[in-house]
Amino acid sequence: MTKTFRTVARAVAVAGVLSLALTACSGDSDDSSNPSTPGATGGASEGLSGSLTVWAWEPTLEKVVADFESANPDVDVDLVNAGTGNDQYTALQNAIAAGSGVPDVAQIEYYALPQFALGESLTDLRDLGASDLDGTFTPGPWGAVKQGDGIYGLPMDSGPMALFYNKEAFDKAGVAVPTTWDEYLEAARAIHQADPNAYIANDTGDAGFTTSMIWQAGGHPYTVDGTDVTIDFTDEGTTKFTELWQKLVDEDLLAPISSWSDEWYQGLGNGTIASLTIGAWMPANLESGVPDGAGKWQVAQMPQWEAGGAATAENGGSSLAVMKAAKDAELAYAFLEYANAGPGVQTRIDGGAFPATTAELGSDAFKNKEFAYFGGQKVNEVLAQSAADVVDGWQYLPFQVYANSIFNDTVGQAYVSSTTLVDGLAAWQEASIDYGSKQGFTVE
């Protein structure tokens, strides 16, 4: 019976560690009385006071928090990095289950939002003012934060995909930047042949990447209508992806390095990982995480399935949401509005983030900005074009966080054994259907 006790003890321990993390990361609140720059939307309304805990890993938020605090001297914001993506969701689930240590505001990616909204862990923002924000954000992200009638977050960024590549690595191997996936395969072979330690990309099985690739190829594995869910990984779009990627896996053309690991950052810096097909939020991460790559990296449109095509997909992108357990929902919402629809947007753009607001995306100043890190390239031109080319009609599961957590149990096997991606996806589909049915969805 020590077993059950252990489980409980672990939950308590986790909660304890979390609160430690909170205290460890708090402090150095910016007390400087710099003249504030209140924005047009009035995010810095008079008389805000109190304290907020924000869980987010988006690096540009640091500056936004500092600005928000100087605009509202009576507000103290603790910005905590509780992990990236799934790690943070696990921590967040733990805190919600434990009933303590829940932050006021959390960064939640679009794919994960339905699960938290459905679990009634988030505050509906309509009455706090979000219902007036129609038209402020691009349709994709704005649609993603709505669940049923409710609005459960404000879009922070969007992630239209592009091909980020290390120009030096491509030049060294003597290959041109691929515009189609066939050319990509050829380039992958050439790069690995020129240097056995170099790969065109890394992949150890990443659920977000795989679903985005299927999205671009025109696949619709998930169909969600209320609680009716259909999962089908055998459609044409999925097959296009698996045929290509299986070749890359079979020929060992993908670096066996997990994204966001130390090895990954090293590889991006030293050219052994030559490219990333990833969301438009990547520039800020490259600048902060891969300082060695300055001047080497460039951005191009995502390779196409048909020559001359223009189809892209969203990869990641996240919102800020107010937790149901927030102490002061109005203050939390004021921060959301400041960061995602107010002056914070420009601050974050300056830091390299990719916005979800229509005004900024359409402005010339945004598109013509030259990025020193990217050798002066007008990166946003490429990314804004990608945002316009995103294929319509994609849906995520209302339990995508769980589905993604078992991705490596199923599809991941294709990377380390003789299992094929097709078999892996079939196993993933089956496991997801099984889970969905147990959670009360009607799943086929």
């Binding site: 019976m1 020590t2 077993k3 059950t4 006790f5 252990r6 489980t7 409980v8 672990r10 799934n86 696990t90 689930q93 733990n94 289950a97 699960q115 459905l118 679990g119 150890t204 099985g205 609680t227 390095i257 997990s258 690991s261 090895e263 090293q266 209302p398 339990f399 966080v401 769980y402 957590s405 078992i406 490596n408 149990d409 991941g412 096997q413 990377y415 380390v416 054994s417 889970y435 147990k438 959670q439 009360g440 969805f441």
Partner: protein, 304 residues
């Protein structure tokens, strides 16, 4: 003492049964309260949880023993269970064997620098499991780790310790490294209390070292052996830290249901299936108890 004074009291009270003496309860009360709160309540709550099922759609419902029936046909659970049983059958004998060997060597008195060996073999136990696993995880790395360095230095290609086929053995290696010192200490302390007169008698009878070990030392520490075995069984069944940390380095080799504990963790924290997770925990707890008890019975019977 208590029973002696209680007897006349009971006689006196025989006519007034309605007033039992509460003073005894007063003494054990505080303990019982804490015991109930800290030990019994979590178990009771887990059992309570395991009888329900909470869904994302449809809310909470009483399902009786359905969760238990599901466990017995749950292939993922039994895969994880298979891993810990294999671990138990292979790693525990190796670990205890090494620990016994080292304890006997230290006890033989023929080892030069005995206290140095004793402390250095015990030292890994003082390293937290998380740190130990991270350390070994770096060494296992085929690109920047020790394995990678060996491969490059000797131009060989060692198998990847974090591949699906080898990862259980790699975890066994870590656990062995961590716990040999601990078990050695249990054996060694049991050996130290064997009276020296027995050895003298054996020497007079002309028994060699090997004979002394078999006839005196091993029987003398049988109790310690049984205890160490039971601890190891419980430890194996609770395997969690090592696979959980290595899973970050080898996500495709360590599934979310690699061990029953890891499975219970994923069920509750990624899957929000707290009820089923509680069921898995209870079943595993009962299984561990039964096996540990069986080993204890068997060990003690031999001793008698």
């Amino acid at each position: 003492m208590a029973s002696v004074s209680a007897v006349p009291a009971a006689v006196a009270d025989r006519t007034r049964r309605s007033r039992p003496s509460w003073s005894g309860w007063g003494f054990v009360g505080p303990f019982l309260l804490v015991f109930a709160l800290v030990f019994l309540a979590p178990i009771a709550y887990s059992v309570y949880l395991s009888l329900f099922r909470k869904q994302l759609v449809g809310g909470n419902a009483f399902v009786g023993t359905e969760n238990y029936r599901t466990v017995f046909t749950d292939q993922q659970f039994w895969t994880g269970f298979g891993h810990v049983v294999a671990f138990l059958l292979v790693q525990v004998p190796i670990m205890l064997g090494i620990a016994l060997l080292v304890a006997l060597a230290l006890d033989s008195g023929r080892l030069y620098g005995r206290s140095f060996f004793r402390i250095s073999i015990f030292l890994p136990y003082a390293v937290p499991a998380v740190v130990a696993t991270l350390m070994w995880g770096f060494m296992y790395g085929t690109r920047f780790g020790l394995v990678g360095n060996l491969n490059r230095a000797f131009d060989i290609s060692l198998p990847n310790p974090l591949s699906p086929d080898l990862v259980l053995a790699s975890i066994g290696n870590i656990v062995t490294w961590e716990f040999v010192g601990y078990n050695m200490l249990i054996f060694y302390s049991a050996l130290r209390v064997v009276p020296a007169s027995l050895y003298e008698a054996a020497e007079i009878d002309g028994a060699g070292q090997w004979r002394v070990i078999r006839a005196i030392k091993l029987p003398a520490i049988r109790g310690a052996l049984v205890i160490a075995t039971i601890f190891s069984i419980i430890g194996s069944f609770q395997l969690f830290n090592e696979p959980s940390i290595l899973a970050n380095l080898a996500p495709n080799a360590i599934a979310t249901y690699f061990t029953p504990n890891l499975y219970a963790y994923s069920l509750s924290f990624s899957g929000q299936q707290y009820n089923y997770s509680a069921t898995v925990a209870i079943v595993m707890g009962v299984v561990t108890m039964v096996i540990a008890y069986a080993v204890q019975l068997r060990g003690m019977r031999k001793e008698a």
